[in-house]
């Protein structure tokens, strides 16, 4: 049964931490949203509460990392990525402190709570900071396996997790690697490139397009930075059109990064699917995906429009 990735993350972390005293979970009155209550109860000596103080959350985590701990600073992605961004830049990245920044309930997970609680700029700001690896797992299996890899990963990481149950993408043979994209569906007419919890919608769209007679490749990325440029450039070369899909502003995230890559290495028609540069309408996550055309049906429409452009564009 599909469960929220944040829940899978904390269960995995608790299992790991029981055998590794270096692991510390830090929360900013976020143990509920991060589902860290069990961790706090079972391993109080490896749990740190800082209260509603995200700057101190990240600064303290950096200090603990510098003393040999493996800190996981867990806070809603919207606050972690904005309120403490200078501590992330200076205390964590620039100082070389191996902090794992866990952005809980990222993107529009909080839905109708509104823009204060959405994190649609986090990828933009994180990927502009030298040295930070930016990770977005798609489903439960990927979340659990990447969490395990984070313990001894050399360098700071921002990992964004969603709030709702994440639909399954991968089978039991899948072995994710940080920085490595996955070919989910073969195709020749175009490629959908998706990240995080929109990978499932992208894959569904790929199947729908196939039914409509369009050979659509689907590529999943669990890491925005470093970017798997090889899988992207191969897709661009072989399919000639890319549709990027992200739960993020259309500025500064996956689409922007891919546009930069294509500008450097040879352009093909590109559509960037994400949230527009305006305040969002009210709605839950599912409603917002549908409204902004990020559900499978919306992606199918964008894919068809992209194919029309591919056929008429001369680059």
């Amino acid at each position: 049964m599909d469960r929220p990735n944040r829940r899978v993350f904390t269960e995995t972390l608790l299992t790991l931490a029981k055998n590794d005293r270096r692991i510390i979970a830090l929360a900013s009155d976020s143990r509920g949203s991060a589902t860290l209550n069990e961790f706090a109860t079972e391993l109080p000596e490896q749990f740190v509460e800082v209260g509603i103080a995200e700057q101190n959350l990240v600064g303290s985590a950096a200090g603990m990392a510098k003393c040999g701990k493996v800190p996981f600073a867990c806070s809603p992605a919207c606050f972690l990525s904005m309120r403490s961004i200078e501590q992330i830049k200076t205390d964590v990245a620039y100082s070389g402190a191996n902090v794992r920044l866990i952005g809980i309930s990222g993107g529009v997970s909080y839905g109708a709570l509104g823009s204060t609680h959405h994190s649609l700029q986090d990828l933009a700001v994180m990927q502009a900071i030298p040295g930070i690896t930016v990770i977005l797992p798609a489903d439960n299996r990927e979340t659990a396996m990447l969490t395990r890899q984070l313990v001894d990963y050399p360098g700071p990481v921002y990992m964004r997790l969603g709030r709702e149950a994440a639909p399954r993408v991968y089978d039991d043979n899948y072995r994710p690697a940080i920085g490595k994209g996955t070919l989910l569906l073969s195709g020749e007419d175009m490629t959908i490139v998706a990240m995080g919890e929109l990978v499932r919608s992208a894959l569904d769209a790929g199947y729908l397009l196939r039914q409509a007679g369009i050979s659509c490749r689907v590529v999943a990325l669990n890491t925005l930075k470093p970017l798997d440029t090889e899988i992207l450039l191969t897709a661009a070369r072989e399919t000639g059109a890319l549709l990027t899909v992200e739960e993020h502003s259309i500025y500064g995230g996956l689409g922007s990064r891919v546009a930069q890559l294509l500008g450097e290495c040879g352009p093909v028609p590109l559509t960037v699917a994400g949230f527009p540069d305006e305040p969002l309408v009210t709605g839950n996550q599912e409603e917002l995906f549908r409204h902004y055309g990020l559900d499978a049906a919306g992606l199918v429409e964008k894919a068809k429009e992209l194919l029309r452009r591919k056929q008429t564009t001369r680059l």
């Binding site: 209260g51 101190n56 040999g68 200076t90």
Partner: protein, 277 residues
Amino acid sequence: MTLTELAQKALETRREVLRLIYRAGAGHIGGALSAVDLLVVLFYDVLNYRPEEPAWPMRDRFILSKGHSCEGYYVILADRGFFPREELASFMKYQSRLMGHPHPKVPGVEVATGSLGHGLSVATGMALAGKRDQLPYRVYCLLGDGELAEGSIWEAAIAAAHYGLDNLVCLIDCNGLQISGPTQQVMNTQPLAAKWEAFGWEVREIDGHDLQQIRQNLNQVPFTVGRPSLVIARTVKGKGISFMENDFHWHHKVPSREEYERAMKELEGVGPSEIGA
């Protein structure tokens, strides 16, 4: 080290700070000079560390939260053997490790500072890690009084008291001036002692240029078991150079050749021939 020897180190450090800034044509001289005596006592008398093994796990940690006052810090780290003294001549030069704000690529520097209000959180995390591992090291953090307007300082102050971090010692280089003028006019953070006491810290107020007072108080930490210790050190911005003292324009002004020579003479017995600019 005797008080006389400490005083000699303080004087030498001030001379070297002046030389560094004059040669580089940049730096923050006022706050560097106000912090010298605190740094000298810390690094020559209080802190437990191994220059040949900067990452020694049992070392006391020091964080210069007011990272712009790095000149005296660099001079002392070099003198203590963390890196060659000759490297000081590269201060703020192309490709030097010695930037205008400290970075851990300089041996002895724990974390990068320079954006104000960050140091105490990092120090709190270090002290908390030490407590959790039951290690005997202490963590010392030097703040400026101007940076107390940063809210993050107070987030850390609350947490340090909440966790009873009596292995954490915070010092405030309270020179009363910041880049735009007197701190009390720019943003009044007084009464400092009452504020920090209310936040759960044990507070001592001292003369930040009286080496004996500094040493005596730092040797008595923790001031109360179970509480973090705070030293409010009353200092003089530009201390040691008469025409710089208590003048906020010297926050980051660079002395002219004439000013440099006058200042060097004030810092005892250095003739123009020794001015290696």
